[in-house]
Symmetry: C2
Subunit: 161 residues, 2 copies
Protein backbone atom coordinates (compact mmCIF):
# COMPACT_ATOMS: atom_id res chain seq x y z
CA UNK A 1 0.00 0.00 0.00
CA UNK A 2 1.64 3.21 -1.23
CA UNK A 3 1.63 6.19 1.09
CA UNK A 4 3.20 9.63 0.69
CA UNK A 5 4.39 11.51 3.75
CA UNK A 6 6.86 14.20 4.76
CA UNK A 7 10.38 12.81 5.17
CA UNK A 8 11.84 12.75 8.67
CA UNK A 9 15.49 12.63 9.66
CA UNK A 10 15.36 8.84 9.98
CA UNK A 11 14.47 8.63 6.27
CA UNK A 12 17.44 10.68 5.11
CA UNK A 13 19.93 7.80 4.60
CA UNK A 14 17.43 5.90 2.43
CA UNK A 15 16.53 9.06 0.49
CA UNK A 16 20.21 9.89 -0.08
CA UNK A 17 20.83 6.34 -1.30
CA UNK A 18 17.92 6.64 -3.74
CA UNK A 19 19.18 10.07 -4.85
CA UNK A 20 22.63 8.59 -5.54
CA UNK A 21 21.19 5.69 -7.53
CA UNK A 22 19.19 8.09 -9.72
CA UNK A 23 21.85 10.71 -10.41
CA UNK A 24 24.59 8.15 -11.11
CA UNK A 25 22.74 7.20 -14.29
CA UNK A 26 23.29 10.72 -15.70
CA UNK A 27 20.23 10.65 -17.92
CA UNK A 28 17.58 12.77 -16.18
CA UNK A 29 19.12 15.17 -13.64
CA UNK A 30 21.91 17.73 -13.86
CA UNK A 31 23.15 16.83 -10.37
CA UNK A 32 26.74 15.53 -10.72
CA UNK A 33 26.66 11.72 -10.96
CA UNK A 34 29.48 11.59 -8.39
CA UNK A 35 28.09 14.18 -5.96
CA UNK A 36 28.59 13.71 -2.24
CA UNK A 37 25.84 12.85 0.28
CA UNK A 38 26.41 16.33 1.76
CA UNK A 39 25.67 18.00 -1.58
CA UNK A 40 22.63 15.80 -2.12
CA UNK A 41 21.34 16.65 1.34
CA UNK A 42 21.73 20.37 0.65
CA UNK A 43 19.92 20.15 -2.70
CA UNK A 44 17.12 17.72 -1.79
CA UNK A 45 16.60 17.67 1.97
CA UNK A 46 17.67 20.92 3.63
CA UNK A 47 15.40 23.99 3.90
CA UNK A 48 13.95 25.69 2.01
CA UNK A 49 13.40 22.30 0.30
CA UNK A 50 10.66 20.15 1.83
CA UNK A 51 11.35 16.45 1.18
CA UNK A 52 8.67 13.76 1.02
CA UNK A 53 8.85 10.00 0.65
CA UNK A 54 6.67 7.43 -1.07
CA UNK A 55 6.57 4.38 1.15
CA UNK A 56 5.33 0.91 0.23
CA UNK A 57 5.23 -1.72 2.99
CA UNK A 58 7.87 0.17 4.93
CA UNK A 59 10.23 0.55 1.96
CA UNK A 60 11.04 3.97 0.54
CA UNK A 61 10.28 3.60 -3.17
CA UNK A 62 10.24 7.26 -4.16
CA UNK A 63 10.93 10.78 -2.99
CA UNK A 64 10.01 14.28 -4.01
CA UNK A 65 11.41 17.62 -2.94
CA UNK A 66 9.34 20.81 -3.04
CA UNK A 67 10.74 24.34 -2.77
CA UNK A 68 10.25 27.90 -4.03
CA UNK A 69 11.64 28.23 -7.54
CA UNK A 70 12.96 31.73 -6.80
CA UNK A 71 13.45 33.81 -3.67
CA UNK A 72 11.45 36.91 -2.81
CA UNK A 73 9.24 38.23 -5.58
CA UNK A 74 9.26 34.88 -7.36
CA UNK A 75 8.58 32.66 -4.34
CA UNK A 76 4.91 32.17 -5.22
CA UNK A 77 6.06 29.64 -7.86
CA UNK A 78 7.00 26.22 -6.55
CA UNK A 79 9.62 23.89 -7.97
CA UNK A 80 9.61 20.14 -7.46
CA UNK A 81 11.80 17.15 -8.29
CA UNK A 82 10.76 13.48 -8.21
CA UNK A 83 12.74 10.25 -8.00
CA UNK A 84 11.39 6.71 -8.15
CA UNK A 85 13.54 3.70 -7.24
CA UNK A 86 14.47 2.01 -10.54
CA UNK A 87 13.09 -1.37 -9.40
CA UNK A 88 9.68 0.21 -8.67
CA UNK A 89 9.21 1.99 -11.99
CA UNK A 90 6.10 1.46 -14.08
CA UNK A 91 3.74 1.35 -11.10
CA UNK A 92 2.53 4.94 -11.23
CA UNK A 93 4.52 6.06 -8.20
CA UNK A 94 5.74 9.24 -9.89
CA UNK A 95 2.16 10.10 -10.82
CA UNK A 96 0.98 9.67 -7.22
CA UNK A 97 3.91 11.78 -6.00
CA UNK A 98 3.15 14.50 -8.57
CA UNK A 99 -0.52 14.69 -7.53
CA UNK A 100 0.54 14.82 -3.87
CA UNK A 101 3.09 17.55 -4.54
CA UNK A 102 0.54 19.68 -6.38
CA UNK A 103 -1.85 19.45 -3.42
CA UNK A 104 0.99 20.16 -0.98
CA UNK A 105 2.11 23.18 -2.99
CA UNK A 106 -1.44 24.50 -3.21
CA UNK A 107 -1.91 24.07 0.55
CA UNK A 108 1.38 25.90 1.15
CA UNK A 109 0.04 28.89 -0.79
CA UNK A 110 2.01 28.52 -4.01
CA UNK A 111 0.23 29.90 -7.08
CA UNK A 112 2.03 27.80 -9.70
CA UNK A 113 4.63 25.10 -10.18
CA UNK A 114 7.58 25.25 -12.57
CA UNK A 115 10.09 22.62 -13.66
CA UNK A 116 13.30 24.24 -14.96
CA UNK A 117 15.12 21.23 -16.30
CA UNK A 118 13.05 18.46 -17.89
CA UNK A 119 15.41 16.55 -20.17
CA UNK A 120 13.86 16.35 -23.65
CA UNK A 121 14.68 12.66 -24.07
CA UNK A 122 12.82 11.80 -20.84
CA UNK A 123 9.60 11.45 -22.82
CA UNK A 124 7.80 9.34 -20.23
CA UNK A 125 8.20 12.06 -17.65
CA UNK A 126 7.16 14.79 -20.09
CA UNK A 127 3.93 12.95 -20.93
CA UNK A 128 3.28 12.35 -17.25
CA UNK A 129 3.72 16.04 -16.35
CA UNK A 130 1.46 16.98 -19.27
CA UNK A 131 -1.22 14.62 -17.93
CA UNK A 132 -0.88 16.48 -14.62
CA UNK A 133 -1.58 19.80 -16.30
CA UNK A 134 1.91 21.05 -17.10
CA UNK A 135 2.65 22.83 -20.36
CA UNK A 136 6.01 23.24 -22.04
CA UNK A 137 6.77 26.98 -21.81
CA UNK A 138 10.39 26.91 -22.91
CA UNK A 139 13.07 24.86 -24.59
CA UNK A 140 16.77 25.42 -23.92
CA UNK A 141 19.06 23.94 -26.57
CA UNK A 142 21.72 21.48 -25.42
CA UNK A 143 21.51 22.48 -21.75
CA UNK A 144 22.04 18.89 -20.54
CA UNK A 145 25.08 16.68 -21.14
CA UNK A 146 23.37 13.29 -21.26
CA UNK A 147 25.98 10.67 -20.31
CA UNK A 148 25.18 8.51 -23.36
CA UNK A 149 23.43 10.84 -25.85
CA UNK A 150 25.56 13.95 -25.32
CA UNK A 151 24.11 17.47 -25.63
CA UNK A 152 20.35 17.28 -25.10
CA UNK A 153 17.66 19.96 -24.99
CA UNK A 154 15.86 20.80 -21.78
CA UNK A 155 12.24 21.87 -21.35
CA UNK A 156 10.81 24.41 -18.94
CA UNK A 157 7.36 23.22 -17.84
CA UNK A 158 4.72 25.09 -15.86
CA UNK A 159 1.21 24.96 -14.51
CA UNK A 160 -0.95 27.20 -12.38
CA UNK A 161 -2.28 25.74 -9.12
Amino acid sequence: MLAIRAAVAADFPAVLDLFRRIVVSGDTYAYPPDCSPEQAQRWWLDPPARPFVAEDDGRIVGTYSLKPNQPGLGDHVANCGYMTAPEFRGRGIASVMCAHSLATARDAGFAAMQFNFVVASNTGAIRLWQRHGFAIVGRVPAAFRHVRDGPTDVFVMHRLL
Copy 2:
Protein backbone atom coordinates in the same frame (compact mmCIF):
# COMPACT_ATOMS: atom_id res chain seq x y z
CA MET B 1 37.04 55.88 -18.19
CA LEU B 2 34.98 52.71 -17.66
CA ALA B 3 36.86 49.54 -16.75
CA ILE B 4 35.56 46.10 -15.88
CA ARG B 5 37.51 43.92 -13.49
CA ALA B 6 37.00 41.02 -11.08
CA ALA B 7 35.64 42.20 -7.74
CA VAL B 8 37.94 41.92 -4.73
CA ALA B 9 36.94 41.79 -1.06
CA ALA B 10 37.47 45.54 -0.69
CA ASP B 11 34.72 46.09 -3.30
CA PHE B 12 32.13 44.00 -1.49
CA PRO B 13 30.58 46.79 0.64
CA ALA B 14 30.04 48.98 -2.44
CA VAL B 15 28.68 46.05 -4.45
CA LEU B 16 26.31 45.08 -1.65
CA ASP B 17 25.11 48.69 -1.42
CA LEU B 18 24.47 48.73 -5.18
CA PHE B 19 22.70 45.36 -4.93
CA ARG B 20 20.44 46.72 -2.17
CA ARG B 21 19.58 49.83 -4.18
CA ILE B 22 18.59 47.72 -7.19
CA VAL B 23 16.53 45.05 -5.45
CA VAL B 24 14.66 47.51 -3.22
CA SER B 25 12.91 48.81 -6.34
CA GLY B 26 11.25 45.39 -6.85
CA ASP B 27 10.87 45.80 -10.60
CA THR B 28 13.60 43.69 -12.19
CA TYR B 29 14.91 41.01 -9.79
CA ALA B 30 13.18 38.34 -7.70
CA TYR B 31 15.61 38.90 -4.80
CA PRO B 32 13.57 40.04 -1.78
CA PRO B 33 13.59 43.86 -1.66
CA ASP B 34 14.38 43.62 2.08
CA CYS B 35 17.05 40.91 1.88
CA SER B 36 20.04 41.05 4.20
CA PRO B 37 23.63 41.83 3.15
CA GLU B 38 24.45 38.22 4.11
CA GLN B 39 21.87 36.87 1.64
CA ALA B 40 23.04 39.26 -1.05
CA GLN B 41 26.62 38.20 -0.50
CA ARG B 42 25.65 34.52 -0.83
CA TRP B 43 23.70 35.11 -4.05
CA TRP B 44 26.02 37.58 -5.80
CA LEU B 45 29.52 37.35 -4.36
CA ASP B 46 30.24 33.92 -2.88
CA PRO B 47 31.48 30.96 -4.96
CA PRO B 48 30.49 29.49 -7.31
CA ALA B 49 29.45 33.03 -8.34
CA ARG B 50 32.27 35.17 -9.77
CA PRO B 51 31.54 38.86 -9.18
CA PHE B 52 32.87 41.68 -11.35
CA VAL B 53 32.65 45.46 -11.06
CA ALA B 54 32.38 48.27 -13.60
CA GLU B 55 34.50 51.12 -12.33
CA ASP B 56 34.50 54.69 -13.57
CA ASP B 57 37.04 57.10 -12.06
CA GLY B 58 37.30 54.94 -8.96
CA ARG B 59 33.54 54.70 -8.44
CA ILE B 60 31.74 51.36 -8.73
CA VAL B 61 28.94 52.08 -11.21
CA GLY B 62 27.93 48.52 -12.04
CA THR B 63 28.42 44.90 -11.17
CA TYR B 64 27.84 41.53 -12.75
CA SER B 65 27.89 38.05 -11.29
CA LEU B 66 28.70 34.98 -13.38
CA LYS B 67 28.06 31.38 -12.35
CA PRO B 68 27.07 27.96 -13.69
CA ASN B 69 23.32 27.85 -14.27
CA GLN B 70 23.11 24.25 -13.05
CA PRO B 71 25.48 21.89 -11.24
CA GLY B 72 27.08 18.82 -12.79
CA LEU B 73 25.73 17.84 -16.19
CA GLY B 74 24.35 21.34 -16.78
CA ASP B 75 27.41 23.32 -15.69
CA HIS B 76 28.53 24.06 -19.24
CA VAL B 77 25.81 26.74 -19.37
CA ALA B 78 26.60 30.01 -17.61
CA ASN B 79 24.17 32.31 -15.87
CA CYS B 80 24.79 36.00 -15.31
CA GLY B 81 23.11 38.93 -13.58
CA TYR B 82 23.89 42.62 -14.14
CA MET B 83 23.23 45.73 -12.06
CA THR B 84 23.94 49.33 -13.01
CA ALA B 85 23.79 52.14 -10.45
CA PRO B 86 20.56 54.06 -11.16
CA GLU B 87 22.39 57.41 -11.50
CA PHE B 88 24.66 55.94 -14.20
CA ARG B 89 21.97 54.45 -16.42
CA GLY B 90 21.76 55.30 -20.10
CA ARG B 91 25.52 55.27 -20.62
CA GLY B 92 25.84 51.77 -22.04
CA ILE B 93 27.39 50.31 -18.89
CA ALA B 94 25.16 47.21 -18.96
CA SER B 95 26.12 46.61 -22.58
CA VAL B 96 29.84 46.81 -21.77
CA MET B 97 29.33 44.47 -18.80
CA CYS B 98 27.37 42.02 -20.97
CA ALA B 99 30.09 41.90 -23.63
CA HIS B 100 32.73 41.44 -20.90
CA SER B 101 30.72 38.65 -19.25
CA LEU B 102 30.32 36.80 -22.56
CA ALA B 103 34.08 36.91 -23.11
CA THR B 104 34.72 35.85 -19.51
CA ALA B 105 32.28 32.96 -19.79
CA ARG B 106 33.82 31.82 -23.06
CA ASP B 107 37.32 31.98 -21.55
CA ALA B 108 36.08 29.94 -18.58
CA GLY B 109 34.96 27.20 -20.95
CA PHE B 110 31.20 27.74 -20.83
CA ALA B 111 29.39 26.70 -24.03
CA ALA B 112 26.32 28.91 -23.61
CA MET B 113 24.73 31.52 -21.37
CA GLN B 114 21.18 31.41 -20.03
CA PHE B 115 19.09 34.01 -18.21
CA ASN B 116 16.28 32.35 -16.23
CA PHE B 117 14.36 35.37 -15.07
CA VAL B 118 14.15 38.36 -17.43
CA VAL B 119 11.09 40.35 -16.37
CA ALA B 120 8.88 40.91 -19.43
CA SER B 121 8.28 44.58 -18.61
CA ASN B 122 12.03 45.24 -18.55
CA THR B 123 11.97 45.93 -22.28
CA GLY B 124 15.21 47.89 -22.37
CA ALA B 125 17.11 44.94 -20.94
CA ILE B 126 15.40 42.48 -23.29
CA ARG B 127 16.38 44.55 -26.34
CA LEU B 128 19.91 44.86 -25.00
CA TRP B 129 20.30 41.10 -24.50
CA GLN B 130 18.88 40.50 -27.98
CA ARG B 131 21.51 42.86 -29.42
CA HIS B 132 24.09 40.73 -27.62
CA GLY B 133 22.84 37.59 -29.36
CA PHE B 134 20.34 36.24 -26.84
CA ALA B 135 17.06 34.72 -27.99
CA ILE B 136 13.89 34.28 -25.97
CA VAL B 137 13.54 30.51 -25.51
CA GLY B 138 10.77 30.48 -22.94
CA ARG B 139 8.06 32.55 -21.29
CA VAL B 140 6.75 31.75 -17.80
CA PRO B 141 3.37 33.34 -17.03
CA ALA B 142 3.14 35.58 -13.96
CA ALA B 143 6.35 34.28 -12.41
CA PHE B 144 7.31 37.73 -11.04
CA ARG B 145 5.37 39.82 -8.52
CA HIS B 146 6.29 43.30 -9.78
CA VAL B 147 5.91 45.70 -6.84
CA ARG B 148 3.79 48.14 -8.88
CA ASP B 149 2.42 46.11 -11.82
CA GLY B 150 1.65 42.87 -9.98
CA PRO B 151 1.95 39.47 -11.67
CA THR B 152 4.30 39.79 -14.63
CA ASP B 153 5.63 37.23 -17.11
CA VAL B 154 9.26 36.23 -17.14
CA PHE B 155 11.40 35.30 -20.15
CA VAL B 156 14.08 32.64 -20.37
CA MET B 157 16.84 33.90 -22.71
CA HIS B 158 19.78 31.99 -24.14
CA ARG B 159 22.73 32.18 -26.48
CA LEU B 160 25.54 29.87 -27.47
CA LEU B 161 29.09 31.12 -26.88
